[in-house]
């Protein structure tokens, strides 16, 4: 079980929740379960969500494991110059 924190607008799409407990071993499973449990999140996931694990931002590594006790934070997928 990992605790996932959602950024403001994403929380609204998950029924006003800012924290979600979820059983997921990696980012792929996390996104799959989030979409199942909170259909409102699906468009955001399709548009792109980045996952910060203990402060490090992952944009594309869906195979990245979610360590127990790690701080998992969802952010919008960012753009750069």
């Amino acid at each position: 079980m990992v605790e996932v924190t959602l950024w403001g607008s994403l929380g609204a799409a998950a029924g006003g929740k800012s924290k979600i407990e979820i059983e997921a071993k990696d980012i792929r499973e996390l996104f799959r379960k989030l979409a199942e449990q909170y259909p409102g999140l699906e468009p955001y996931i399709n548009r792109g969500i980045a996952v910060a694990i203990d402060g490090t931002i992952y944009r594309d590594t869906w195979s990245k494991e979610l360590p127990q006790g790690a701080e998992i934070f969802l952010l919008p997928r960012l753009v750069g110059g």
């Binding site: 403001g8 910060a52 402060g55 944009r59 753009v79």
Partner: protein, 754 residues
């Protein structure tokens, strides 16, 4: 093979040295080929017709006269680029920006294009195209566009991110919010509060090379595109999608790129050139003029930002709040959101709240510009922080050190930080001789901090070892400022050979797997990771070949300093085999030796900088002079320190231009009044002093060498650092960027009038 990206300490041989770049000689002799330096046999000249109106419905376009002109081979409108985006809203916006469909949304919006035998014929043909416009009311100002009375650009837009869907459409596409704690409670604890509103004007990336491409579409559905871009694989993806082509049948070659800074990250003219070529059945070369570059490409957001920060008597920040409004041009973006995320990222805050509003205006589609959105937010926040330090009675550096984020701090955008460099850059700035240097008459000193995320992304690299032991490295991230040198150093380091033995090239889209573009400061970070991985894969093969030669188990062979060495006393008589020797024998030991790597280079470390500057202000005219400038920034590990310094200096110079001079000026008619380098004045050599740099190296734990991105952060602090210096010199707080002489003079006169 599984690649472990984690950092471990090591002694470097090649990395950290400063050799001459491999593409250097071509660039000083004029041989290097940029976007407009390439030609195909039988090519036509493409030109684009652009809207003279800021906002107008396109009722009808009559191209018949243009088509009849001798020498015209194709004329296209939006009808020749049908909508194939299949509900992908972001791609639809890109398509509509390439060629307006129903409405021209800004002065310079493309409405038609021609391909003709020469430039003169093409220009003549543009004049023969008749467009029937119904001119609509327009809005170019970000605050005006938010008002209920403003003309609405797109009546399908209802502000996202509100608790309830609004009843009416508006120009505000989205509200976003970040932060933690309770700012009301925080402000109640504050002994001092600074509250101000700030504005920044729209600027352009200002790359010296205009957008240019040569497109050739064959009737069998294959096509070639030569183009200056920050990401040829991304351009391929976008062009194929917009034109309904198979991705693999479109080969995109990236030319040398004459500057991008975020402005060459998505397509403008390329789908148009391909559509023209498809229709004409001949190659088409399309080069934008400088005026077109200003009117229709780039720019960054114009902004309006309110900041409120409160501090306790002991100098700790009790609460911080900001509302940020960023212009997006006519299409939705996430520019204010990036501002809201980065605004307070340098600080350790118990109570923080930022709100961003994305605002549509009749200006060109906003594009990324080096650490997009962060410089404006930092300008507002760092100006207020400076004022607050004064109120508290603390030195501005000490005040920032007191409140700086550190490992374990919850960032203002959410996650908790790992090891970061904001504290060390502040300490280095505090101890820098610049801080103690005496100031002259009418001079002021300012400093400010800046933050950028940095990204990684999809990356693919090929490393091929020649029979003579030389190494060719094919990378897929476009080299925007010396990365071929850095990546050659990394390959040399990993293989244990000389830098001169490696030759790095940027491969075209048919020769290498997909790569994300060079953005988010990822070029050297990501491709060095892929290069290390590819080199390690090649080393595995080199060891196998040595083991085969010696007829011993491969586990007994190690790779050290460019040689295979048989490990253990029993092999005492085996002489080490060099890479060269193994390569020479490769034909008889199993064929070519290569290492490949496909990976997602995630885990780019966040980056911080602190800048110090001295500015002289002429109180009679409001003119400014940059007297001294110092950049301190964390690089993680500087692979080629000279080019890292170059990134620091270049970002600072762009920030100086933004702070003091550069701005888009729109007339009442909504037309851009200064689309040229004469009136949109970027810094020239005589405007600047030498720019001192100090590279700090706080290793990124997620890169084998500790590398962080370095390209973007350097443009974040200058706006605020200069505003603080000008405010100190002029004795009046400057809140509007750019601080051009008339604005400074007006502020001084208003202050004197009391």
């Amino acid at each position: 093979m599984n690649f472990d990206p984690r950092y471990s300490t090591r002694n470097f041989t090649s990395v950290g040295t400063r050799p001459i770049r491999p593409d250097g000689v071509d660039k000083v002799t004029g041989r290097a080929r940029y976007g407009a330096d390439f030609n195909m046999a039988g090519q036509l000249v493409g030109r684009v017709l652009r809207s003279p109106h800021a906002h107008a419905v396109i009722r009808k376009i009559d191209t018949s006269k243009a088509e009849k002109l001798t020498g015209v081979k194709a004329v296209i409108t939006a009808a020749d680029l049908p909508d194939l985006t299949d509900g992908d809203a972001a791609m639809y916006d890109i398509l509509d920006n390439c060629m307006a469909r129903k409405t021209a949304f800004y002065d310079g919006h493309a409405v038609a294009a021609v391909a003709a035998v020469d430039a003169r014929t093409a220009r003549q043909a543009l004049k023969l195209i008749e467009v029937d416009y119904e001119v609509l009311p327009h809005v170019t100002d970000v605050d005006e566009a938010m008002k209920h009375s403003a003309p609405v650009l797109n009546d399908t837009i209802f502000t996202e991110g509100l608790e309830e869907k609004p009843a009416k459409p508006s120009n505000v596409t989205k509200r976003s919010q970040y932060g933690h704690g309770d700012v009301h409670e925080g402000f109640a604890q504050a002994d001092y509060i600074v509250e101000r509103s700030y504005r920044t004007e729209q600027t352009h990336q200002g790359y010296i090379e205009p957008h240019a491409c040569v497109a050739s579409v064959s009737s069998d559905g294959t096509a070639d595109l030569w183009v200056c871009t920050q990401g040829h694989f991304v351009y391929r993806q976008h062009c194929a999608q917009l034109l309904g082509m198979d991705v693999s049948k479109l080969r995109v070659t990236s030319s040398e790129i004459g500057g991008g800074f975020g402005g060459k990250t998505h397509v403008w003219a390329e789908p148009v050139a391909l559509a023209l070529s498809r229709k004409a059945g001949r190659p088409v070369k399309l080069v934008m003029t400088r005026e077109e570059v200003f009117r229709a490409s780039g720019p960054t957001s114009a902004t309006s930002i309110d900041v409120r920060i409160g501090a306790r008597k002991d100098g700790t920040i009790a609460a911080a709040e900001a509302t940020l409004r960023y212009s997006c041009g006519p299409y939705a973006g996430m520019w204010a959101e990036l501002g809201a995320m980065t605004a307070f990222a340098c600080y350790k805050l118990e109570n923080v709240k930022t709100v961003g509003y994305e605002v549509l205006v009749n200006r060109p589609k906003t594009a990324a510009y080096r650490a997009p959105s962060a410089p404006m937010a930092a300008f507002a926040v760092e100006s207020a922080v400076d004022e607050l330090a004064k109120e508290v009675g603390m030195d501005p550096v000490e005040f920032r050190i007191r409140n700086a984020a550190q490992e374990g701090t919850r960032s203002s955008y959410g996650p908790v930080y790992g090891p970061i460099g904001i504290g060390p850059t502040l300490e280095a700035a505090k101890n820098h001789p610049h801080m103690k240097a005496p100031l002259g008459k009418n001079q002021g000193r300012g400093m400010a901090c800046g933050f950028w995320f940095n990204f990684g992304g999809q990356t693919c690299t090929d490393l091929n070892i020649g029979m003579d032991g030389s190494v060719s490295l094919a990378v897929g991230t476009v080299d925007v400022g010396g990365s071929r040198a850095s990546l050659s150093l990394v390959a040399a380091e990993e293989l244990g050979i000389a830098y001169e033995q490696v030759k790095a090239v940027v491969a075209d889209t048919s020769s290498l797997g997909y790569n994300d573009m060079t953005d988010g400061s990822r070029g050297t970070f990501s491709s060095s990771m892929a290069t290390i991985s590819a080199a390690r894969n090649a080393i595995k093969i080199l060891r196998e070949r040595a083991a085969q030669t010696w007829d011993i188990p491969v586990d007994d062979v190690v790779w050290e300093k460019g040689h295979a060495i048989a490990k253990g006393d029993k092999y005492g008589n085996l002489a080490a085999l060099s890479l060269k020797e193994i390569a020479a024998a490769s034909g008889k030991t199993g064929g070519p030796i290569a290492g490949h790597s496909e990976l997602v280079a995630d885990g780019a470390g966040v980056s911080f900088a602190t800048h110090i500057c001295d500015i002289e202000v002429d109180p009679e005219t409001g003119a400014t002079r940059v007297v001294r400038y110092t950049v301190v920034q964390d690089a993680g590990k500087a692979v080629h320190p000279t080019y890292v310094e170059g990134q620091y200096q270049g970002g600072a110079a762009q920030g100086i231009g933004w702070a003091l001079n550069e701005e888009y000026i729109y007339g009442k008619d909504g037309r851009l009044q200064n689309p040229g380098f004469l009136d949109y004045r970027i810094p020239v050599c005589s405007d600047l002093p030498m720019i001192d740099t100090q590279i700090l190296e706080i290793p990124n734990p997620n890169h084998p060498y500790g590398v962080r991105g370095v390209g973007e952060t350097s443009i974040v602090p200058p706006l605020a650092a200069i505003a603080n210096a000008v405010s100190n010199a002029a004795g009046v707080r400057m809140t509007h960027i750019p601080m051009s002489p008339p604005r400074i003079l007006a502020a001084i006169e208003a202050e004197q009038a009391g």
